[in-house]
Symmetry: C2
């Protein structure tokens, strides 16, 4: 039966009728305004719960002058409740190790421990309660049902099982959805070729991975003599990287495997992290607001920006009791919309997924520019060779933007004229689509190195200018 | 409540009284003869179930002239039911992919897929049913309770989460036992140092790993500035390698961490693989016969050998419905005993754990010799340098055994006389303890290379002799 309460209490044996597009039809398709009223009621319960159980929240809210009784509207929520940062979590855990002053269930109720990688300083430990684990599994099963996966399907999970929450979250959903879960993992030597062999042996309907790994797996599979399309995959869902919402990457994976490619995933702290996820019929990512209430906010004021605008997602759990996140600031960058969705769900949508970090933003002649926007424009050019660099410099007192763009091998083969055309067409596209005046330099194919990780595409030369200027003034 | 039936139906909320040494006191401490009567009844049900649900078993048994109705005693079982080999499983899966003609539940009931590594040919897929997963978790929780782990303890699992069943089995037990499960994993670069950091942060009571990894982790922890004893571990349990029953390895780990070291683990196919496992009070491994009925058999006849003798374990599931193994031949080598156990459980015991493979055996002058026996004798010599080689050759028509033994650095430092004594004392020990006449050569410390994997210590030169002889007769 369809349920919505806090704390959540889901029927572990519930499954929707097999013909249903939705796991919880009412919650997924109710009018948005009606849902927002219900969310407000949940927020009252969740903030009261945190006030009663978490010294961290109580202290933080007392300092900000907020009390759960003050909550009468979503505007109260965004204006009165201060945002929480990852730094707050780290500090709370340093003070009260290992789980911090926001573990709101008895220690004995902790079911799983996971954590952040801790590559930059003190890691954060995730303590997930037994009942929360079931709620997470239910949420993920719901969303995976929405992707088109069904009980009895095989779901192959090929991302590392360790601290990384992605694999564990996908597994919990696959288990609850009553699929055959194949937690294959990744990360050790020789596993990619073996993954290809097992895909061939077991012919799963679903695959979870990171986009980079799916591309590599497809290439390794071909080297091993398999055609990835013959694996018969129906749905491939991704998190951990923004790739699956980047049209070029998404289409390449879809074409390689002949499968539907779906983007999902907010933050490990937010688990059920599939709270932002596409569906079988809707591209981009939906905000499953009844699971995690998401506000796309101005990164300065942390008030919601209007639909159609860019901002940073701020997340609030509506179904977690063990380490509930209330207004956790992501620092990610997205744009939200509120049109009708092909799948009929009445959730806001992120048409381009999560496409950057707010701290990637640079300012040129007073305009805020995100590298992802420049990339989106350039990637559409027919003669683009696949890599580029953005160089910001200063000519006298003016910021100057130089975009160095690789031509494609085909463009070079077509001769000088094709290359000569690429330069002005790139400049015009940047001007038209971003209102950005930039110098453009066309460089030969493969000028810039490729990486499996995040490419550093922005070079800010103004620093050199500033340093020089500072030295002259000494 | 304590339960024993087939198919099993365990109460998912059962926990023993906190002061109890046993999870299921009756099943664990009942007189062995009474248990054997009950096992016979279970075997009747299990064989009938397999006959009804598995074309593979039915065909195999029909060929051998066995029918479940014939089962009146454990002697009937061992004399009438043919053993099953890993080759049988591979062939059945090749014929009926992916799970073979011994998946005895509907495909839609499969909960998890795992498999063998498949490094040598076609891998075997494990399809574990939803109810079996619960039974496995119950069995492992029972056995981990017997190790001294308790609800609320933290259990750190540091072995790879992939095809390898060890980690998944330990996790299922930790979850069912209501510990805080920390599935950290292993296998990717940089994880060992991070494991040390997390052990320091979370101070778990239990740790699961392979013995080699525990040794490496301890060394890395020291390099990173931690004292492994400060992690506060209480119980370390191991599978995947025989090390934890080898006194020298066991004691080194116990000393390094200041924890109780417990050996467990039969075969992935047998999962619940902790069916052979030590306990908080009993060294070596107990055969938890009411979970998996284990016969230690003569590897030629597959009839049980008397207690006190060596043989190969043959396993029969009493609590699995999805891919039940009935008389699965392990090919491992062990010795079983049936004295009273310090923990009071009335199970047979493997005092030296599983110490080799039957196919490691060689024959010298008509006597069967296992390399592990030679190793056990040599490892006890005070002046042993840590490595040795066994060379089998032929002098005329007689097999000759040469054992090349490294002297320790201390022995060399003490001078010629100490070294001169080592040779006859080694020969005498082999003669006295194994009845084995061998030539002994003492070599300097570090003559032989070390390996993280299984060392190849036996060199059979008779092949050269045989080939030469064959050529002369052509």
């Amino acid at each position: 039966m369809e349920q919505w309460s806090f704390p959540p209490k889901f029927d572990p044996n519930y499954l929707p009728p097999s013909g249903s597009r939705y796991w919880f039809p009412k919650r997924e398709t109710m009018p948005a305004a009606e849902r927002e009223k219900a969310i407000l009621e949940r927020l009252k319960l969740v903030t009261r719960y945190a006030w009663d159980h978490s010294p961290m929240y109580r202290r933080k809210w007392e300092e900000a002058g907020f009390h759960p009784d003050q909550l009468k509207s979503l505007e109260d929520f965004e204006s009165r409740v201060p945002v929480l940062t990852k730094k707050d979590l780290r500090e709370s855990q340093a003070k009260t190790p290992p789980f911090g002053e926001y573990l709101c269930v008895p220690d004995s109720e902790v079911y799983h421990i996971h954590g952040t990688s801790g590559t930059t300083g003190r890691p954060t430990a995730f303590a997930i309660g037994r009942e929360d684990w079931d709620s997470i599994a239910n949420a993920h099963a719901r969303i995976m049902w929405g992707m088109g996966l069904r009980p009895g399907d095989t779901v192959f999970i090929s991302a590392i099982f360790s601290l990384y929450m992605g694999s564990w979250g996908a597994l919990s959903g696959a288990e609850r959805l009553r699929t055959k879960a194949f937690p294959f993992g990744a990360g050790a030597s020789g596993m990619t070729a073996r993954a290809a062999m097992w895909l061939d042996l077991t012919r799963p309907q679903g695959l979870y991975a990171t986009p980079s790994f799916a591309l590599r797996l497809g290439e390794v599979a071909r080297t091993e003599g398999y055609d990835p399309r013959q694996f018969g995959l129906k749905v491939m869902f991704f998190s951990g990287e923004p790739g699956a919402s980047v049209p070029a990457v998404r289409d390449r994976i879809a074409d390689m495997y002949g499968a539907r490619v779906i983007d999902c995933g907010s933050m490990a702290e937010v688990t059920p992290f599939m709270n932002i996820s596409g569906s079988a019929e809707t591209d981009g990512m939906l905000l499953w607001q009844d699971i995690v209430y998401t506000e796309v906010c101005d990164p300065a004021t942390f008030r919601r920006v209007p639909y159609g605008q860019r901002g940073t997602p701020v997340y609030t759990h509506l179904e977690r009791t063990s380490q509930p996140m209330i207004r956790l600031m992501s620092g990610d960058l997205t744009l939200w919309e509120n049109g009708p969705n092909p799948c009929g769900r009445t959730y806001p949508r992120l048409p381009q997924g999560v496409f950057g970090r707010i701290d990637d933003m640079f300012t040129i002649r007073g305009e805020n520019v995100y590298p992802s926007e420049v990339e989106a424009v350039i990637a559409k050019l027919a003669d683009y060779g696949g890599e580029h660099r953005i160089v910001i410099s200063r000519d006298g007192t003016m910021d100057e933007l130089l975009v160095r763009v690789e031509a494609s091998a085909e463009c070079v083969a077509r001769g000088d004229e094709a290359q000569a055309t690429l330069r002005p067409s790139t400049g015009k596209a940047l001007q038209t689509l971003l209102g950005l005046r930039a110098k453009v330099e066309i460089v030969p194919p493969n000028t810039f190195p490729r990486t499996d990780f995040k490419a550093r595409r922005v070079i800010d030369d103004r620093e050199v200018f500033r340093e020089m200027n500072a030295r002259l003034q000494d």
